[in-house]
């Protein structure tokens, strides 16, 4: 049985496709979903061979992020993106990458031809979602008119591509700028891609329109060769499905703070929206810089970005860099008791600094006060999909706590201060720290 999943907010279209698509092929089963929840449930429970997703954003789901989620959930499936954005009336077919595209509105026969073509190739290991490439990511971003900066971390080099309202406007990599930088980046066979939604675009350096640019890449790479030839592509762009946080298997195991199993479960229940990378899916041994979430402002329509962020496995070097920054806390904030940089999604400490003789423990403070931050994140989420939390302040009789979130991430600066400390200075130092912290966590590229 060949199973396809069609995800589209238009229920009339889904109904028509479920009734008529491949109706003469009993070996082809059509499943449909009109929202994120339904789609994820099917993707988790069923073997899907082909995902057909509308790229447009809606309140119910976001096709781009659905495809990213499918990369993890359906690594052996293929993907067909439906788009209404192409202006020339023809489906765009990149010369690199694995995604297929079809323009809406389409004749059902056209879709059926594509489906049956994919079905005929089902035994092939080529073109499956686990091979989703930079060319696919760029095409999906452009067709869905996104604004996003992609950071590309190669083992030895750094690069970035900026997509603004669906056009690739700027790229730089290894001393190259513009079109050539895009070509070079598309030839990478190793590295990670990180997405940043909020950024100030650089002056345009790319001259070609995105379709021509992507199609030229193949020719350029044939002439100049790829950066290296190792056939491994690691693109840990995260999906947006909600998944429960890990819970320790038993009390005392992986439980350095001494929480009871019940407390750990309670903490884990707060883990809405905050993605944690699945360690088991990582196959290489590259250093892991922080992975920032794909953003609140990545969509052309507001309010449909995921609310997740992630940091995973920052290298020791990165942690040391973050720790070095915290010297400013001690030097400039009179009345500081404890200064922390934490991952609010799991309450872990990236770095900390304490006043002399301070008895507060950094790990315990981070573990418990991150619960408050997670509630604040939940509240932000309740106010709107694209609402981001900037800061939290708690003022008690004997102390103040200031929290400042690193934009579009789950990383937070946290200060615990004496009751008579100057909150304005604390807030200022954290604000000033933000740029350097961001740069350190991203490997000095921002």
């Amino acid at each position: 049985m060949f199973q396809l999943l069609i995800v589209d907010a238009e229920e009339d279209l889904l109904w028509a496709l479920s009734k008529n698509l491949c109706k003469d092929r009993p070996d082809v089963r059509v499943k449909t979903a009109s929202n994120k929840k339904e789609a994820l449930a099917i993707m988790r429970s069923d073997r899907i061979d082909l995902l057909v997703a509308d790229l447009r954003s809606s309140a119910e789901f976001d096709g781009f992020e659905l495809i990213l989620a499918a990369k993890d959930l359906l690594p052996r499936a293929r993907v067909l993106a439906m788009t209404a954005f192409s202006t020339d009336g023809a489906a765009f077919t990149p010369s690199m990458g694995i995604a297929r595209f079809i323009n809406k509105p389409f004749d059902i026969q056209v879709l059926q031809d594509v489906v049956l073509e994919v079905e005929a190739q089902r035994e092939s290991a080529q073109g499956v979602l686990s091979e989703l490439a930079l060319a696919d990511i760029l095409a999906l971003l452009c067709l869905s008119k996104r604004t996003l900066r992609l950071h590309l971390n190669h083992p030895n080099r750094r690069g970035r591509i900026e997509v603004v309202q669906g056009e690739i406007l700027h790229a730089e990599f290894d001393g190259r700028v513009g079109d050539e930088a895009v070509y070079t980046l598309m030839g990478l066979r190793q590295g990670n891609i990180f997405m940043q939604g909020d950024f100030v675009p650089a002056p345009p350096s790319v001259k070609r329109r995105w379709q021509e640019l992507l199609n030229q890449a193949r020719q350029w790479l044939d002439t100049h060769g790829a950066v290296e030839e190792e056939p491994v592509v690691e693109i840990p762009v995260e999906g947006w499905e909600e998944e429960p946080a890990d819970v320790p298997a038993a009390e005392g195991e992986s439980n350095p703070l001494g929480f009871s199993a019940e407390e750990f479960r309670e903490l884990a229940m707060d883990e809405i929206d905050l993605m944690r990378h699945r360690e088991g899916q990582r196959e290489d041994s590259l250093p892991r810089p922080p992975m920032l979430r794909p953003t609140s402002s990545m969509g052309m329509m507001p309010g449909h970005g995921p609310r997740r962020s992630e940091i995973s496995d920052p290298s020791q070097h990165t942690l040391e860099g973050v720790g070095a920054l915290l010297g400013d806390y001690r030097a400039e904030i009179e009345g500081l008791r404890l200064g922390l940089v934490i991952n609010a999604s799991d309450g872990t400490v990236l770095a900390s600094v304490a006043a002399d003789g301070e008895r507060l423990e950094a790990e315990v403070s981070a573990a418990y006060f991150s619960e408050v931050i997670r509630i604040a994140l939940k509240l932000s989420h309740a106010l709107g999909e694209d609402v981001g939390l900037r800061s939290v302040q708690l003022s008690a009789d004997d102390y103040h706590i200031l929290v400042r979130m690193l934009p579009d991430s789950v990383i937070a600066q946290m200060l615990i201060m004496e009751a008579d400390a100057n909150l304005g200075i604390g807030a200022y130092v954290m604000r000033r720290m933000e740029g350097r912290l961001f740069a350190t966590l991203l490997g000095g590229e921002v």
Partner: protein, 127 residues
């Protein structure tokens, strides 16, 4: 002056304030709210109460002493302030427009806290 009247007066005074309410710390339910109907007061109140509960627990576990009196969340949609009233049984919340001056809003809340607290439900004498 009733509680609603006190909140109405505060709303008129505090620059940038869009809605204000009083919520029970016992169960997170809103007693009275005034202001823009577009503001999700019930959700805001419930989450603020939960945040304060977590904060209390965090303070106990970490050894920090002293009851939290004020809480503030600044998010892209607006500024949210909460202040415990009386013996901590009620939380007074305020939702202000984005980029509002949180310090000024807090100052207004402090200035009117006693007035709003006086309008809260009071136990009967001798009860």
């Amino acid at each position: 002056m009733t509680l609603a009247q006190g909140l109405e007066r505060f709303l008129a005074e505090a620059q940038g304030a869009l809605a204000t309410s009083v919520v029970s710390m016992r169960d997170g339910t809103t007693l009275v709210s005034v202001g823009s109907p577009a503001v999700e007061v019930n959700a805001i109140d419930a989450y603020l109460v939960e945040a304060l509960r977590r904060q209390r627990r965090a303070a106990q576990r970490t050894g920090l002493s002293g009851e939290v009196q004020e809480i503030a969340f600044d998010c892209s949609a607006g500024v949210l302030l909460g202040r415990l009233l009386g013996d901590g049984e009620y939380l007074w919340t305020m939702w202000a427009a984005p980029e509002s001056n949180a310090a000024l809003a807090r100052a207004w809340m402090r200035a009117r806290a006693a007035e709003v607290a006086a309008a809260l439900p009071q136990p009967m004498a001798g009860a």
